[in-house]
Amino acid sequence: MASPDLLKLILELLTAAIAPLQQLISAIKGSSSDEELLAELQRYRDNQPDIRKDLQKILDKYGR
């Protein structure tokens, strides 16, 4: 049977390990939000605006 000190140490280590373990699991699995973010970046990359062209349209509208 383990001593109380050893059990306490194991409990402390387990508690300290929870947060990094959760991040470890997310990093390995790849969370859905990460995947969505990557998909968004790709989508944005493929649809770049042209602000100069948009500006010219506005100026043309007012004859400037």
């Binding site: 944005y44 990359r45 042209d50 100069r52 500006l55 509208k61």
Partner: protein, 143 residues
């Protein structure tokens, strides 16, 4: 048991530390794109309203293309940084984000020169985010 837990903790911390740049770069790129969209839209709306009210001076009209061009340069730099990031090229991503930060600062300068004040506080916040991301890494803008 103790050894297994210790190994797991060390492995977790190492993995998270390694993924630091990846996560920060993704957030910076996403936030920058959103902010560029909001700011460029605010810019075009401001021009539309000023022109509609007949408040655009000739001097302002001459300076507006510089603002629009600085937005286009920033979008181009954002695309280059995103391409590098999506290709998994970490050093190139850092370098391109360094260029992106310069491009964002140029928008702020062009907007100030044209006498416009559209969403520049948000842009300034993104410039700061880019600086913080690059603070611990070596990144060089090659122009």
């Amino acid at each position: 048991m103790k050894k297994i837990i210790l190994i797991l903790v060390v492995a977790s911390i190492s993995l998270v530390a390694c993924g630091g740049f990846d996560s920060a770069a993704r957030t910076t790129l996403y936030t920058t794109k959103k902010t560029l969209d909001v700011s460029s839209e605010a810019f075009l709306t401001a021009v539309d309203k000023l022109a509609g009210a007949g408040l655009l001076s000739d001097e302002m009209i001459q300076k507006l293309p510089a603002v629009a061009d600085s937005f286009n340069v920033a979008y181009k730099m954002w695309a280059a940084a995103t391409d590098a990031y999506l290709a998994g090229k970490e050093q190139e991503t850092r370098d391109k984000i360094a260029c992106l930060v310069v491009a964002l600062e140029d928008i702020l300068l062009a907007a100030k020169d044209a006498g416009l004040g559209f969403g520049t506080d948000k842009l300034a916040a993104v410039v700061q985010l880019g600086r913080e991301l690059l603070a611990d890494y070596v990144g060089v803008c090659h122009g």
